[in-house]
């Protein structure tokens, strides 16, 4: 019953989010602000994680296919596939669920308990649309860029690792990167990213929007936002992979 209530109110909220904005120019301003706070603010962490994980993926792959029967350019090939198919779209999205999701839930939750949302409603503003729609649009727009950047940086991290450890030569690694490349893998990754961005912003906004009580409840809401959006991301990761790759 609890789960049904929860899902019900999520869709009710979405219905209010997607109504025609009162004034486009104000929504534009909000979208620009959200691109800044949700997207550009996450660039640093995306870069750091990507370079390290890219390096680790490459070293692990190299140690796993340490077999004279396999050519060692396969290390570049396998790392590329892991990074494009799974690491960059899914793991980076999960990291963003932690960073962006908690931020959204606590921002909207605080606005709820300090009556700022009531104030919007009293002015005749559709608070759900005004607060949430710009976040969805900003994330759906900016997250694909973050993920593409993450792909390049991870692969670069892998290259650094293979060259500095001497596991694979630079030219073999680069040959492997180009070997059997299917552009659809990028499409698949970006579709996942966009769906995950939608999940992160809507699930977290929902948690924030329905917060009641005190600052403690805002904290709880932001924890739940991260947990729930991560779980839903993992579920949709499975579903989308089934649908798109098989």
């Amino acid at each position: 019953m609890h789960a049904f209530n929860y899902i019900g109110r999520y869709f009710i909220l979405l219905r209010y989010v997607f109504v025609k904005p009162e004034k486009r120019s104000i929504y534009w301003k909000m979208i620009i602000r959200e691109i800044d706070v949700l997207g550009l603010d996450s660039l640093g962490i995306t870069l750091i994680i990507s370079i390290f994980v890219g390096a680790v993926i490459t070293i692990q792959t190299a140690s796993n296919i340490d077999n004279p029967l396999y050519p060692n350019y396969l290390v570049g090939f396998a790392s590329r596939e892991s990074i494009i198919l799974e690491f960059s779209p899914t793991i980076v999205s999960l990291i963003l669920a932690g960073k962006v999701g908690s931020r959204i839930a606590s921002e909207i939750g605080t606005m709820r308990i300090t009556e700022q949302i009531d104030a919007l409603e009293m002015m005749g503003v559709n608070s759900a649309g005004y607060l949430i729609l710009p976040k969805i649009i900003a994330s759906v727009f900016i997250n694909p860029f973050l993920v593409i950047i993450s792909m390049f940086v991870s692969i670069w991290g892998g290259w650094i690792a293979s060259v500095t450890t001497g596991l694979v030569s630079s030219s073999n690694y680069i040959y492997g990167l180009q070997y059997g490349f299917k552009p659809f893998t990028i499409t698949y990754a970006l579709i996942k990213t966009v769906v995950f961005a939608f999940i992160i912003t809507t699930v977290s906004s929902c948690e924030g929007y329905y917060t009641r009580g005190s600052s403690l409840d805002v904290g709880r809401a932001s924890t739940r936002a991260v947990v729930y959006s991560s779980i839903v991301i993992l579920l949709f990761n499975l579903i989308l992979t089934q649908l798109l790759l098989i």
Binding site: E22, S25, I26, T114, E115, D118, E121, M122, M123, G124
Partner: protein, 255 residues
């Protein structure tokens, strides 16, 4: 006139407002007083429509608000200015942006006209030179002023204030009270103020409604209230030493 007719409101099993009826008149400061938890905020939010009511009617100058659809309600809401207990200023906007926001959203004014209106409102509440500050940089009294400026920026016909002087020192409280009273007379709004502050009652209580556990217990004005023989009301009114002293000096004088 705002007419509240037999409204009730529960949260789950808990009845918070019970068959409440009251009228509020234009150009007057109508006070709703009662202890913390007696239902003042819920009453106010029910009248403005943030809380839906379970039964009863709310009528704004002949227009039955409680039976309107969302779109019609929105139009009435644009005539309402509301001051929330904590101010409810938007944290990520400066004072100027806060006061300008309702104009940005709903008026067809040019940018210059809006700024002019903002400055007029900020001047009116004596909050000058703070346009570029954020709410976190304001004192409690300044926050209330900014919030009042935002509430009056759209020239409201109705002004609702939830505990406008809670958390303020006595002097600032009186300033805020008087400001609200002046605005009420100047702009001829129907003003409803929630408070538990007897100072406000004595200062600006044109009409006073006492609410006890969600029930309308007493109504009158600031003169009647000191001489009422309603025991629950007296318990509330004479809770402080100061008011008790006032009562005894008044009694001595009349003897």
């Amino acid at each position: 006139m705002i007419e509240v007719r037999n409204i009730s409101k529960s949260f789950g099993e808990k009845k918070v407002i019970k068959d409440f009826s009251v009228n509020f008149e234009r150009g007057k400061t109508n006070l709703v007083i009662g202890q913390s938890g007696s239902g003042k905020t819920v009453l106010l939010k029910s009248i403005v429509g943030i809380n839906s009511i379970d039964s009863g009617q709310i009528i704004y100058d002949g227009r039955v608000y409680s039976e309107m659809d969302v779109k019609e309600k929105k139009e009435i809401r644009k005539e309402i200015g509301m001051l929330f207990q904590g101010g409810a200023l938007f944290d990520y906007m400066t004072v100027q942006e806060n006061v300008k926001f309702p104009l940005d959203m709903f008026s067809e004014m040019s940018e210059e006209e809006k700024i002019e209106r903002v400055n007029f409102c900020l001047n009116r509440v004596n909050l000058t030179n703070s346009n570029k500050l954020y709410p976190s940089e304001l004192s409690g009294g300044m926050k209330k002023r900014a919030a009042i400026a935002r509430a009056i920026s759209v020239n409201p016909k109705y002004l609702f204030c939830d505990e406008p002087n809670s958390g303020l020192d006595p002097k600032s409280s009186i300033l805020i009270d008087n400001l609200i009273r002046e605005l009420t007379v100047e702009f001829q709004t129907i003003t409803i103020i929630n408070t538990h502050d007897m100072n406000s009652v004595v200062e600006i209580g044109d009409k006073v409604t006492f609410i006890l556990k969600g029930v309308k217990w007493w109504e009158g004005d600031r003169n009647d209230i000191l001489f009422s023989d309603n025991p629950e009301l007296n318990e509330f009114v004479y809770a402080t030493e100061l008011m008790k002293k006032l009562k005894s000096t008044k009694a001595k004088r009349t003897n």
